[in-house]
């Protein structure tokens, strides 16, 4: 099995071959003296040349994170097949942009309406959760295409609240 794994922005090709009972790890073509075991669900004890690392893998919504004792890494995994499939469709960064609720909560104020022109960083609406009010701001300058929430409404994290074009 072979995967492309991006850790802290660096892509690596990781391969695991089981030779007899000993698993053989290869990262970017280099053999690694590594031994890995899952201690608890999602928690891995990894020994690399005797150095002991404990890595906790956690999915947070759409993201994967790897936590060691002192460090935290963003992780993106693609296996070779998947990777080829996705290669074509590039990420659209310009044009219409969906603004997402960053947390679950209640919309306490909507500051813009469809058709308003906004500057990047301008407040669009205010979400309240856990006694904190949080302003959701425009990711770019443009025109409000649609406002998809009303005051008093409850939203979930990642829900589209406003579309800016």
């Amino acid at each position: 099995m072979k995967l492309q794994i991006e850790i802290a922005g660096k892509k690596r090709h990781v391969e695991l071959a089981e030779a007899g009972e000993r698993p053989l790890w290869t990262i970017d073509g280099q053999r690694l003296e590594a031994d890995a075991t899952e201690a608890s669900p999602g928690i891995y004890s990894i020994l690399i040349n005797g150095k002991s690392f404990e890595v906790r893998i956690e999915r947070r919504g759409a993201e994967l994170r790897a936590m060691t004792r002192d460090r935290e890494f963003a992780v993106v995994i693609q296996d070779e097949r998947e990777w080829r499939r996705h290669r074509g469709g590039s990420v659209e960064a310009e044009g219409r942009q969906q603004v997402l609720a960053p947390m679950p909560g209640k919309v306490v104020r909507v500051l813009v309406s469809a058709g308003d022109s906004v500057r990047a960083g301008q407040g669009l609406l205010v979400v309240e959760a856990m006694k904190m009010q949080n302003e959701v701001r425009a990711p770019k300058s443009g025109t409000i295409d649609r406002v998809r929430v009303v005051e008093g409404q409850t939203v979930n994290a990642g829900e589209v609240v406003v579309v800016v074009s």
């Binding site: 460090r71 996705h86 701001r137």
Partner: protein, 509 residues
């Protein structure tokens, strides 16, 4: 001692109080809102009663409901914890009427010492220093100049209607006063529709240091040393320690005696905290009094070997303080981290949700006061504090080392927590030296993440380990199509980035 104590709170402090009750052989009675049925404080209590819907205005903040449970369950005392009704004089007043002891000061003492302006007046009356300046509006720039000359530059102009830094200008010397006055006046007018300003001595990089006091019903007052609470994010304490790294025996005595004097003047009883600002020259200025148990009380417990919650109960039960000022001994150093369900990579947004798993640090010198457990869902409706991690050491160095070690062992998975923030703070040279002030953390954070050290072997090994772990995780979870999608769609990173940009959390006014 009481037979049955009603705990008018939730979360870690309700757990803390329930444990004190258990240890004293007193029955602990919990209350819970609809979303708190399975909360830890309910599980650990001897009795528990529902008090209504999730919003605290309809449950934890309703005096009648609290008293109703107290009467129904036959409680002889109520502990308010902190937050919610803890500083609302309506509760001790209602307790008096119901014949139930309130574990805290009287309503009158709460009103006198809890209100900022009244407390400052008392402080001045008893000769405790307050920040020089005026609390009433100044009419003209000339009047401002006169006052500023009197108290000495630098000063700060503040909008009477103000808050959030608007209409505020610091003035280093006389020649800057006129333009600062103009700017602040117009900014205040724009922001609040009220241009009036007042003036205070500007403390350059003040520390927030507070004194814990105890007072019984027999006229005995003691102070239990200080807590250094300068590490704050947007005026919210984040990390506290005892003793303060800058404390001297003389200063402690002076501040402690000022605190006791203030408490005595307000006929205070039970546990309370007197907050001060301390400048670089170790001058201290009364800020305000918190007429309740503080979140950060454990650091005082660790260095005094006392149990403040039990002492609160003893005092409320009419027992005299079991020690005198001279018998209080400070020992070693303690530090506390307030662990929140929030995302330090995303402007410290609250991050409620279900806790999948918990790592609980244990071993020498470590204490955890928490209100959570694996499988519990952090509700959306309340303060997102999960608990407090406390480390004690023979000296500050050992306390910090133990905290660092404990933070490595701590986690709450499934939600985001601010644990990495503490790692960054602990690693900073300023904090290691104890060179902090109330705006230090905001400055530190706005300076951005420190450049990571040069890529060393350790770092690259850690990345390899993470890659291997991610590989194994993927192999186990990738079969579920959803999991696979979620972890591989490249857009996910883009979303994260844009989210980070869009968002800026404001403290609620």
């Amino acid at each position: 001692m009481f037979k049955k104590v009603l705990i008018a709170n939730r979360g870690e402090i309700a757990v803390r109080i329930a444990r004190a009750c258990r240890e004293l052989g007193v029955r602990a009675v919990a209350v819970y809102s609809d979303v708190d049925r399975a909360s830890l404080h309910v599980r650990l209590a001897d009795e528990a009663y529902p008090i209504g819907p999730a919003p605290s205005r309809e449950s934890y903040l309703v005096v009648e409901k609290i008293l109703g449970v107290g009467r129904y369950a036959g409680c002889d005392a109520i502990h308010p914890g902190y937050g919610f009704l803890a500083e609302n004089p309506a509760l001790p007043r209602a307790c008096v009427d119901a014949g139930i002891a309130f574990i805290g000061p009287s309503a009158a003492a709460m009103e006198q010492l809890g209100a900022k302006t009244a407390a400052r007046q008392i402080a001045r009356d008893v000769g405790a220093p307050t920040v020089p300046g005026t609390l009433s509006p100044i009419n003209t720039v000339d009047e401002a100049r006169e006052i500023a000359r009197e108290i000495g530059f630098p000063v700060i102009l503040k909008a009477v209607a103000g808050g959030g830094g608007k209409g505020m200008r610091s003035v280093a010397g006389e020649n800057q006063l006129a333009p600062a006055w103009r700017d602040a006046t117009s900014e205040a007018l724009n922001a609040f529709g009220d241009s009036r300003l007042y003036l205070e001595k500007y403390l350059e990089r003040p520390r927030h240091i507070e004194i814990q006091v105890l007072a019984d019903h027999h006229g005995h007052f003691v102070y239990l040393g200080e807590r250094e609470c300068s590490v704050q994010r947007r005026h919210q304490k984040v990390m506290e320690e005892a003793p303060s790294p800058i404390m001297t025996a003389e200063l402690r005595k002076a501040m402690g005696e000022a605190a006791v004097k203030l408490a005595r003047a307000g006929t205070y009883t039970n546990a309370g905290t007197v907050e001060f600002l301390v400048d670089a020259q170790r001058n201290f200025y009364f800020l305000e009094m918190n007429t309740r148990l503080q979140v950060e009380h454990p650091v005082t417990e660790m260095v005094t070997s006392l149990d403040l919650v039990k002492l609160q109960m003893r005092i409320a039960a009419g027992e005299p303080l079991p020690f005198s000022q001279e018998e209080i001994e400070l020992r070693g150093h303690a530090i506390e981290c307030r662990i929140y369900a929030e995302d330090p990579d995303n402007n410290f947004f609250p991050s409620p949700g279900k806790i999948v798993d918990c790592g609980v640090p244990t071993g020498p010198g470590i204490r955890l006061d928490a209100g959570i457990y694996a499988g519990w869902t952090v509700p959306n409706e309340y303060d997102p504090m999960l608990g407090k991690l406390i480390a004690w050491g023979g000296d500050r160095k050992e306390a910090l080392a133990r905290m660092g070690r404990a933070l490595q062992e701590y986690y709450a998975s499934g939600i985001k927590t601010n644990v990495s923030l503490f790692r960054r703070i602990l690693a900073s040279g300023d904090f290691q030296k104890g060179a902090v002030y109330t705006r230090w953390l905001d400055d530190f954070l706005s300076a951005g993440p420190a450049l990571e050290g040069l890529e060393d072997e350790e770092e690259s090994r850690a990345e390899q380990a993470a890659a291997i772990a991610a590989f194994l995780w993927h192999r186990r979870h990738a079969d579920g199509a959803n999991a696979f999608e979620a972890s591989t769609i490249p857009e996910s990173r883009w979303k994260t980035e844009s989210r980070r940009e869009q968002v800026n959390r404001e403290p609620q006014p």
